[in-house]
Amino acid sequence: MSKYRLFWPAAALIALLLVNLALSPSFFAITVRDGHLYGTLIDILRFGAPLVLVALGMTLVVATGGIDLSVGSVVAIGAAIACAQISTLPDQNAAGGVFGALGIALVLCLLLGLCNGFLVSVIGIQPIIATLILMVAGRGLAQLVTGGQIITVDSDPFRVLGGGYWLGLPAPILIALGVVAATALVVRRSALGLLVESVGGNPEASRLAGVRARGLLVLVYVFCGLCAGLAGLMVSSNVSSADGNNAGLWIELDAILAVVIGGTLLSGGRFSLGGTVLGALLIQTLSTTVYTVGVPPESTLLVKALVVTVVCLVQSPAFRAKLRRRRKPPAPAPAEPAAKVEVPA
C-alpha cells in the first residue's frame, strides 16, 4: 500500500524532470569543480532542503490530524535570532559564539513549538487557530528582533550551514538527508509512528487504548518547530542575512502542499515521510521549471493552484466515487452534471 502511495508523487516528479530534460538538454548535467558538485539537479536539492525540513515536521503534525500554520514565522524567528546573536559577537568567525547563537535560536524555536503543542493538546484549541496565533504574532516577533531591517552577518562558520560542502555535496542537502534519515529511523523503527497515526486516526480510541495522546501531540509540534527553526538557520546562512519580513514567507503553504502531494491525508491517521520528501522536491522542481522555461515567475502560483486542486481531487474518495459512477452509463445517478467537475477554483 505504501508503495502504491509513493507511485503517484514519484511518477509526477519523474514526468516533470523529463519535461525539463526535453526543454533544456543540459538539465541532468552534473559537473565537478574544485571537488564540488554543480548542476541544476544539485541546485534543486540544495534550495529545496529547507522546504524538505519544514515539510518533514509538518508531516507528523498532519498525521495527528493537525496543521501548523506557524512554520513560516518560526523560520523567520530562527533566522532573526541567530543573525541578531551573531551580529553582536565580538568576533563573528569564532566557532564557539556561532554555535551558541545557533543553539539559542533552536531552543527558542523548540519553545515556540512547545507553545503550539500546549495550546492544541492541553487547552484543546483547534490546530489551525492555535498555530494561527503564532503565525500572526511570530512574524511581528521576528521583525521586532531584526528591528524591521535586514540583519547581515559576516561569519564563516555560519555560512557553512547553507553554503558549505562536504564530500562534494552542499551542506544543506546533507543536513536535510541526515534529519530525514534520523526521523524515519526513529518513527518507523519504533512504535512512535504507529502511535502518532493512531492519535490521528481516532484520538479518543487511542486514549482509551492507553496511548498518551497529549504527550505525543506536544512532541510532534515541538519537532515541527525545531525543523522549521533549522530550516530558518539554513535559509539565513545561505544569504548571510535575516529578513524578518520575508524569510519563510508562504513556506507553510508549500509545506502543506508537499505533505498532501506525498499522500498524507489532511484528516490524519496515516503519513508517508518518503512521499513528503518527494512532494517537497516536486514543488522545488516545479519552481525551477517555471524559471527555466521562461514562464513569468508570477505564474508559479497558478501552476501550484492547479496542482493542489488536481492532487486533492484525485485523493478525494467522493470525487473518485463520482467519477466511477459516471464511467458506468447505467449508474443510477447521472444527475451529477459535468459542469461541477469543471468549476474553476
Partner: protein, 328 residues
C-alpha cells in the same frame, strides 16, 4: 451552542454566548479610553470615523468570512480575491469598459470563484482549508499574471466615488465606501439573523449531520456561504480601489488573517454555529483602534500591531475555550 440553551442561564448579557461580545466591547472601550486620555486628538469624532474609512473594505470581507466560519468552514482566499479584484478593475478599465460594467464583472468573478470553491468543498468532500488555499494561489497567481505593477485608476466614476465626502452633522465626514460597507452589514445581518438561509447557516455550524437529517438545504447553503464570501471579497476589492485608486497584485497580502482575527475577536466560535455579525464589526473596529493607537504612539512599527493582534487572538480563543468548557 445548543448546550447553552439547554442549560437555563439567566437572561440578558449574562448569557455565556454574549460574553465574548461583551469582552470585545469592554476591550474596545478600554483601548479607546486609553487613547483618548493619552492623546486629546484621539477622542475626536473624525478619528473614530477614520477607523471606519480605513477599514471599510475589511468590514465587508469580514462579513463574508463570518458566514463561512459560522458553518464551521474557513476561507483563506479572501485576501487574494481582494487583490485580484483591484487588478481586474484596473485592467478592465484600461481595456475601455465602462465603470459600472467593470464593477459588475468583478463582483461576478468573485462570486463565481466562491461558487467554485464551495462546490468542490461540498460535493467532493475536500477540507475547506485546502480548497480555499488552492483558491488563494489561483487568485493571487491570476492577479500577478494580469499585472505585476501598480496600475493607477483615473476613471471619472471611480475617482468621483473615491473623493466625494459624505457630510455628517458636526462637521464630520465619511466616505461613500463606509456607506456601502454599512449597507452590506445591514443586509448580511438581516440574512443571517432573520431568514431561513441564516438559520441553516447556524444549523450547519452546530451539526452538519443534524442539519442534513432535519432536511435543511445543506448543499445549497454550504456552497452559498462560499459564494457570499467570494462576492464580499470582490466588493471589498472594489472598495479598496476607491481607497487607494490603484490596482495592485500585492494589495491585501495577509488580509485573510485580519478577517479571521476580526471574526474570532468578535466572539464567533471557529467550529461554527455560534456568533454574531455585530461581533465581527466590533472585531474590525477593535483591530482598527489598535492600529490607530500604535500610529498615535508614533512607533508606526507594523510588528507591534502583529504582536498585539496575536496576543489578542490568544486571549479571545482562551476565553472561548473557558466559556465552551463551562457551558458543557
Amino acid at each position: 451552542m445548543s448546550t447553552v440553551t439547554a442549560t437555563p442561564v439567566r437572561g440578558g448579557w449574562r448569557q455565556a454566548r454574549y460574553l465574548p461580545i461583551a469582552a470585545s466591547l469592554a476591550l474596545l472601550i478600554v483601548a479607546y479610553g486609553f487613547g483618548a486620555t493619552r492623546y486629546p486628538a484621539f477622542g475626536d469624532g473624525q478619528v473614530v470615523l477614520n477607523i471606519l474609512i480605513d477599514n471599510a473594505f475589511l468590514l465587508v470581507v469580514a462579513a463574508g468570512m463570518t458566514f463561512v466560519i459560522l458553518t464551521g468552514g474557513i476561507d483563506l482566499s479572501v485576501g487574494s480575491v481582494v487583490a485580484l479584484s483591484t487588478v481586474l478593475c484596473a485592467e478592465l478599465l484600461r481595456a475601455g469598459l465602462p465603470a459600472p460594467v467593470v464593477m459588475l464583472a468583478v463582483l461576478a468573478v468573485g462570486g463565481v470563484l466562491g461558487l467554485g470553491m464551495g462546490s468542490i468543498i461540498h460535493y467532493f468532500e475536500i477540507q475547506p482549508f485546502i480548497v480555499t488555499l488552492a483558491g488563494m494561489f489561483l487568485a493571487r497567481g491570476l492577479s500577478y499574471t494580469l499585472s505585476t505593477e501598480s496600475v493607477s485608476l483615473d476613471d471619472p466614476l471611480f475617482v468621483a466615488i473615491a473623493q466625494t465626502p459624505v457630510e455628517l452633522p458636526g462637521g464630520l465626514r465619511v466616505s461613500i465606501s463606509v456607506l456601502i460597507a454599512v449597507a452590506v452589514l445591514l443586509v448580511a445581518g438581516y440574512v443571517l439573523h432573520y431568514t431561513r438561509l441564516g438559520r441553516t447557516v447556524y444549523a450547519i455550524g452546530g451539526s452538519n449531520r443534524s442539519a442534513l437529517l432535519m432536511g435543511l438545504p445543506v448543499a445549497r447553503t454550504r456552497v452559498g456561504v462560499y459564494t457570499i464570501s467570494g462576492f464580499c471579497s470582490a466588493l471589498g476589492g472594489i472598495l479598496l480601489t476607491f481607497y487607494t485608486l490603484s490596482g495592485n497584485s500585492l494589495h491585501a497580502v495577509g488580509m485573510e488573517l485580519d478577517a479571521i482575527a476580526a471574526v474570532v475577536i468578535g466572539g464567533t466560535i471557529l467550529t461554527g454555529g455560534s456568533g454574531y455579525l455585530a461581533g465581527t464589526v466590533l472585531g474590525v473596529v477593535v483591530l482598527g483602534v489598535i492600529q490607530t493607537l500604535i500610529t498615535f504612539e508614533g512607533t508606526l512599527s507594523s510588528w507591534w500591531t502583529k504582536i498585539v493582534i496575536g496576543a489578542l487572538l490568544l486571549v479571545f480563543i482562551l476565553l472561548q475555550r473557558l466559556i465552551a468548557g463551562r457551558a458543557r
